[in-house]
């Protein structure tokens, strides 16, 4: 399994004007890898996965780029073919389980609908498989859960159901959009552990979108850092989080409160996506910005075999190391 996203450009046509949401996004998810896309609001991380899965609002348009999923370009194929891939070959875990589950249908019906969208299967067969999936995601009374409705579940249980639906057809790739943001803190860990276990166990790959650096540090193999609709840095988590090379990654990591040191925030604000960015979008907030940063969009340069940074600085020399007490 591999997912290769290249030069993805997505725009939204709104009453206020054109919103440049993704402006050339490049990254790869390799076989068996868990990749985290991290970024703040407006960085384009959710737009990126919605573009890949064909889930954009009617106002959104993919203008350019490709998303090769095992060689098939998800952005170029017919909607019918994309539909066959969604759910069967790519599982999706939504942010808020109560938003994602249909309140009017029993949980069993929702399993059944997903199964029937891809395979011929009768109800008893689907029920057996659903029960099996529910047990695997750690639901104690799977029969009762199947016969009930979403509103009868707690947040953690509902998210387990969503995970079970996402993995029902044994997809090799799972895409998760902030899978624990809506849950209580003590439940988040349980769900993340569960997801990671299921991914590893099934030798699947996962793309996980989050704004939580801790989730990336603890659960991902590689990280893609986004800012203003562009990837600014990509690489193995172990390297990026200990020696960030892009000034934005550095600033993000410095923003995490640590006892005994003053946290360092970033001045300024995220640029307005209503105008097409010229030059480096981060330069107004960057401590190391030069005049040349305003001239052209910095190209993405490979650093060693497995890292890439989009910055005009000589990053290894000019960007200081992250100092942790």
């Amino acid at each position: 399994m591999s997912l290769v996203v290249k030069d993805l450009e997505t725009r939204f046509i709104t009453r206020q004007g054109v919103v440049y949401a993704a402006n050339g996004v490049n990254f790869t998810v390799g076989d068996g890898e868990i990749v985290g896309i991290v970024g703040e609001s407006g960085s384009g991380k959710t737009v990126t996965i919605n573009s890949i899965l064909g889930l954009l609002d009617p106002a959104g348009r993919v203008r350019n780029g490709s998303a090769l999923f095992d060689g098939t370009d998800l952005l170029a194929i017919r909607r019918r073919e994309l539909r066959r891939i969604r759910g069967a070959r790519i599982g999706f875990i939504a942010q808020n389980p109560f938003g994602a589950l249909n309140p009017m249908l029993t949980i069993e019906d929702q399993f059944y609908n997903v199964m029937r969208a891809h395979r011929r299967a009768d109800r008893t067969e689907v029920r057996q498989q659903a029960l099996e999936m529910l047990r695997r995601v750690g639901i104690a009374g799977p029969e009762r859960t199947l016969d009930g409705y979403a509103h009868e579940l707690s947040g953690g249980m509902a998210q387990r159901v969503v995970i079970a639906i996402a993995l029902l057809l044994n997809p090799p790739l799972v895409i998760a959009d902030e899978p624990t943001t809506a849950l209580d803190v003590t439940v988040q860990r349980q769900i993340l552990d569960l997801i990671k276990g299921l991914i590893r166990e099934g030798q699947r790959s996962m793309l996980i979108v989050t704004h939580d650096l801790g989730v990336v540090a603890q659960y991902c193999d590689r990280v893609v850092v986004m800012y203003s609709g562009r990837v600014v840095e990509e690489g193995p988590v172990a390297k990026v989080f200990t020696r960030p090379l892009h000034p934005y990654t550095l600033a993000l990591l410095r923003s995490v409160p640590r006892l005994g040191t003053e946290v360092q925030g970033l001045g300024g604000r995220v640029p307005d996506l209503l105008s097409r960015p010229t030059g480096c979008a981060f330069r107004h907030r960057c401590a190391f910005a030069k005049e040349s940063c305003a001239v052209a969009t910095p190209p993405t340069a490979a650093i060693g075999p497995d890292r890439a940074v989009a910055c005009v600085l000589d990053v290894e020399r000019e960007v200081p190391a992250l100092v942790v007490d």
Binding site: D57, P58, R86, F92, A94, A100
Partner: protein, 333 residues
């Protein structure tokens, strides 16, 4: 659930009190106003006694309520008919036109609205919006006139708007007072065809006007549902677009059913004028005539009948919504 049932008697009280208030708001001597200028002293006195105007207010009020509680709505001033009998006689025709137009309005309106909601922010949506906005702005009697002009006068597709059967047809023996049903019971297939043909224009009139409102609410609710997380998740699971639209409809049906109740109330009003224009001889036409005749007992009967009718429709649809939603269904138990 219990709360909903408690509201019925309260609402009915409001309806009856309101119909009573209608006489009270008549300026000067209501008896004189009703009898008209040509009436003599004795006629006025009879009306006054009939209205109970010679008795004190509180006595009249209580009397009014007890009479109604016993199903006694009095007799018409105009033709002396027993009002409650007249209502049961004319009501079925109104139900027929309303059910038929509601059916067609729902069919057309919901399809148009669903189309617009599904393709929100795209060309079909824009076209649907224009159609909805335009249709909403045409008063029903004007729709009727335009339909008569084009379909009857210019194209001769429909018969003249002069009743439910032509002059050469004979009315079937009365069994249920529903003309369609009575014709079937009598086995009069020619009559059935004739009345169906004559129903086209009035039903179309009411259906077109009402369809715009159905379309409006369907467009809004389905449009919102289409951009919901539920629909997004359904799509992400590879469900077909047909199934996805079904999911959106599941979400939208509650508000649409609730809104239907409001449309029924509006339809009763619209039907009065349309029935009159097409000589439909239903409750609406009868009630409108009663109003124009200042036939107080008939007006009161009409207001109470239509008010209670819409109230019951409200309640029934409310129960349907509750029964369809598992969240409400389970809270009750």
């Amino acid at each position: 659930m219990l709360r909903r049932l408690i509201i019925i008697p309260i609402s009915l009280f409001f309806v009856v009190a309101f119909s009573y208030a209608l006489v009270e708001i008549m300026p000067g001597d209501p008896a004189l106003a009703i009898a008209g200028n040509t009436a003599n002293e004795r006629e006025v006195a009879i009306i006054r006694a009939e209205l109970g105007l010679d008795r004190p207010f509180d006595e009249r009020f209580v009397r009014f309520f007890t009479d109604i509680a016993q199903g006694d709505l009095g007799r018409s001033f105009f033709d002396g008919q027993i009002v409650s009998h007249e209502i049961t006689r004319y009501f079925p025709a109104s139900v027929e036109i309303m059910v038929l137009s509601l059916l067609f309005a729902g069919l057309i309106g919901l399809s148009l609205g669903a189309l617009a909601g599904y393709f929100r922010q795209r060309a079909p949506d824009s076209v649907a919006r224009i159609v909805i906005t335009a249709l909403q702005a045409v008063p029903e009697f004007l729709i009727a006139l335009l339909l008569i002009f084009f379909i009857f006068y210019l194209w001769r597709w429909a018969p003249a708007p002069i009743g439910r059967l032509s002059l050469t047809d004979t009315y079937p023996p009365v069994v249920t007072n529903f003309l369609f049903i009575d014709l079937i019971l009598a086995g009069d297939w020619n009559g059935l065809r004739s009345t169906a043909h004559r129903s086209v224009l009035p039903v179309a009139t009411l259906a077109i006007g009402t369809a715009a409102y159905f379309a409006k609410v369907a467009r809004a609710t389905i449009g919102a549902a289409m951009s919901s997380k539920q629909v997004q998740f359904a799509r992400a699971c590879g469900l077909s677009e047909f199934k996805v639209l079904q999911y959106a409809l599941l979400q939208a049906r509650g508000p649409i059913i609730t809104y239907t109740a409001i449309l029924v109330a509006a339809l009763v009003g619209g039907a009065s004028i349309i029935e009159t224009m097409f000589s439909w001889r239903g409750l609406g036409q009868w009630g409108l005539q009663a109003i124009l005749n200042k036939d107080v007992p008939a007006i009161q009967g009409f207001v109470i009948a239509t008010g209670s009718f819409t109230m019951i429709v409200y309640l029934a649809l409310d129960l349907v919504v509750a029964a369809l939603d598992p969240r409400i269904r389970h809270d009750r138990g």
